[in-house]
Subunit: 162 residues, 2 copies
Amino acid sequence: MAQEGAVNTEQINGDSSKAVTFISFKPQLVLSKAEEAIKFYKAAFGAEELSRVNHPKRKAEQDLPLIICADLKIGTSSFLVCDQTDDLPLTVDGAGLGFILKLETEDVVAAVEKAVEAGAVADGEVTEVEGLCGGLLGKVKDPFGFVWVIALASNKCSETEA
Amino acid sequence: MAQEGAVNTEQINGDSSKAVTFISFKPQLVLSKAEEAIKFYKAAFGAEELSRVNHPKRKAEQDLPLIICADLKIGTSSFLVCDQTDDLPLTVDGAGLGFILKLETEDVVAAVEKAVEAGAVADGEVTEVEGLCGGLLGKVKDPFGFVWVIALASNKCSETEA
């Protein structure tokens, strides 16, 4: 437990002009038929399913589980395919289709602040969300109309939540 | 120039049920103000600009160059920010906003065939396009309304084309 160096205090909170580091960046497709879409992306583009988180509640009208999000990989990049829920903000209305850019970071609050300073509009407060693999979640709309979800980095998502 | 191994003929053309490999996968944001958007993504999310290709023609009404696409990186993933042109198919009408999923592969024709077999709808023929860093380009719309552009893999894009 020897302390060989001083704690770096330069990056501790407060100043939102400091560097905010993003761990991951993923497009997030929001659909009314995530299960079907996942099958299609595997068949059409050889997508590999890395993980999937189901919602505890099933869809009322169907036997299929409600998919909070599945993480699919093509090449070296991954994207999320998610069933539409009340929590998910959509940039596209009609046809139940939507598209979100998801960022993961260690400091959601600072990241949202920095985005807002740069001209984005916060969509609600940063909130703690259950079931989305890791708590804090902020949403901003950029000046061009795209929605970015900023979430706490989480590499310990359970494969499925029943 | 010694040839030490036989050419692998197993993957040569014809059978579209064979594996199609994608080298990269990127979301592609289409805007009417790509230059501004790039500045914003740098300021708000610390995006790093990897490369940029300008269109030989400038925008008629402005002095800003028309950006065919800039490749931005956040975390380990990258995305493209592009000015709207006649070539770019959009999933979103109104407000000049759009969103495309871009795939790069060594075999555009086979990739489009496989996607169509799996249920996508081809949007026109595979065509040779100048200025888009590498020739062949196919477009498909998936059964859920998202547009995928399938392009020839190209790592030799010039930084800017004047």
